[in-house]
């Protein structure tokens, strides 16, 4: 499968990427690892006229501490997040989730910013950012704005990003001792989650249970009210509207959400 023809531009700075976005408008797409965009282009679900390669922009990559948060550059690859001593020590849930994305080859190419901007409701990192209560830094013509994960995912494959903006960094709270759990239910190696659950410090997020990654609000309220993990997990499917496919129907997904939420709240990984 061959993508439709496009022009290829290489950005040498974030400012250069923004000016190229301004020049080409909605016909342009940013390219980092390309592991969400290129598959869509190969099946012609996406046909941008211009690709702006930001993978070589040094200022968009890397991991650093900033007060109570870790700041991770948008083009930092999954392998680098998963293998970072800093992330493993300070945000172990994120290191674990990054190691669950795809397979080793995909983690050598795919980036944290790309995965979040793609906003697949069944993907690992969007639900993880929700559970962590993290945020994204968005750089645009008017400067930098920070958007909480709760406000970033607005629909299936749709985010708060405007066409002239660049997701430049990801912010997550440091908390090496905070209890967390992670569950990803798949039938085949390197698949997307049939249902996924990330739990962190009383926050619970779900993958594949609706058009966006979702907070399991009823579970969180039950936990605040003193419910046990098992009692709270019984509410995991409340208010959700999962889709159905050949892997699972909606009732099965709701069942999985309850079972997996209980395991995640008990600190289990899998």
């Amino acid at each position: 499968m061959i993508p439709a023809a496009f022009d290829y531009e290489v950005a040498d700075s974030a400012a250069h990427a923004l000016s190229l976005l301004a020049e080409h408008g909605e016909d342009a797409k940013l390219l980092a690892g390309g592991h969400s965009l290129l598959p869509m282009m190969k099946v012609r679900l996406a046909q941008p006229a211009v690709l702006i390669d930001i993978a070589r922009v040094g200022e968009l990559s890397g991991i650093r501490s900033d007060g109570g948060e870790l700041v991770i550059g948008a083009t930092t690859r999954h392998a680098d997040v998963a293998g970072s001593d800093l992330v493993r020590a300070e945000v172990p849930l994120l290191a674990y989730a990054a190691a669950q994305v795809g397979d080793p080859q995909i983690r050598h190419r795919g980036t944290i910013g790309g995965s979040l901007a793609h906003a697949d409701p069944s993907a690992d990192l969007p639900m993880t950012l929700l559970a962590l209560g993290g945020s994204v830094e968005i750089t645009g013509p008017a400067g930098v704005r920070t958007v909480a994960a709760d406000d970033f995912f607005v629909g299936p494959f749709e985010t708060a990003l405007s066409p002239d903006e660049l997701l430049s960094a990801v912010r997550v709270p440091r908390g090496g001792d905070v209890p967390w759990g992670y569950q990803k239910f798949v039938r085949r190696a390197n698949d997307w989650a049939i249902v996924g659950v990330a739990a962190y410090d009383g926050r619970v997020a779900l993958a594949s249970m609706g058009g966006t990654p979702l907070r399991a609000i009823a579970v969180e309220e039950a936990l605040r009210g003193g419910a046990s993990a098992a009692e709270a997990a019984a509410h995991a499917a409340d208010g959700t509207s999962p889709g159905y496919d050949f892997h699972a129907d909606t009732e099965y997904r709701k069942h999985l959400a309850r079972v997996l939420t209980k395991r995640a709240l008990q600190g289990e990984t899998g």
Binding site: D7, Y8, G34, K42, P104, Q105, I106, R109, N190
Partner: protein, 164 residues
């Protein structure tokens, strides 16, 4: 667009269309046919090559993204005198292939895995090859081959000698 890169140790310069995929560049422009196009959807791993030493699926990389970088295919693992790499030899000695279609990708994924983790457990080998499918389902001997190569590379060498 003109790209300059190193392929199997040789510097090259080629004029390519931006939409040319790395696997097609390697097969059709460079004439290197080890990397296979299997699923063409980033799943099966038959097109796995090394980009700056790390395994990638070349059906999901543009040739222009490899500009200025180094690409290694299974052909590039063979020494000039024809000696195969330890991983390639271990695949032969342990019969780590049946039809052979997945083999170049398996070898490249295993080479990358052992570069990152020279002494993996069997479970780590199985997880490390998660991105490569063998539709003959010959996984047991593939895993044996990778463990044997790890032993040979780290100097213990027990499993490869036993099967020689």
């Amino acid at each position: 667009m003109e790209i300059k890169l190193t392929v199997n140790g040789t510097a090259r310069s080629d004029d390519v269309e931006p939409r040319l995929l790395l696997v097609h560049y390697l097969r059709e422009v460079c004439g290197l046919r080890a990397a296979n196009v299997g699923c063409d959807t980033t799943s099966c791993g038959a097109c796995t090559v090394l980009l700056d030493g790390e395994s990638v699926k070349s059906c999901t990389v543009l040739a222009v993204q490899a500009n200025g970088r180094s690409v290694t295919t299974a052909e590039g693992l063979v020494a000039e005198d024809g000696t195969m790499s330890a991983v390639q030899q271990a695949f032969r000695e342990n019969h780590g292939l049946q039809c052979g279609f997945c083999t170049p990708g398996m070898v490249m994924a295993a080479t990358s895995l052992l570069a990152e983790n020279p002494d993996p457990t069997e479970q780590q080998v199985r997880e490390g090859l998660e991105g490569n499918f063998c539709r003959c389902t010959g996984y047991h001997n593939i895993v044996r081959a990778v463990l044997a190569a790890a032993g040979k590379l780290s100097g213990t060498g027990a499993s490869s000698e036993a099967s020689a």
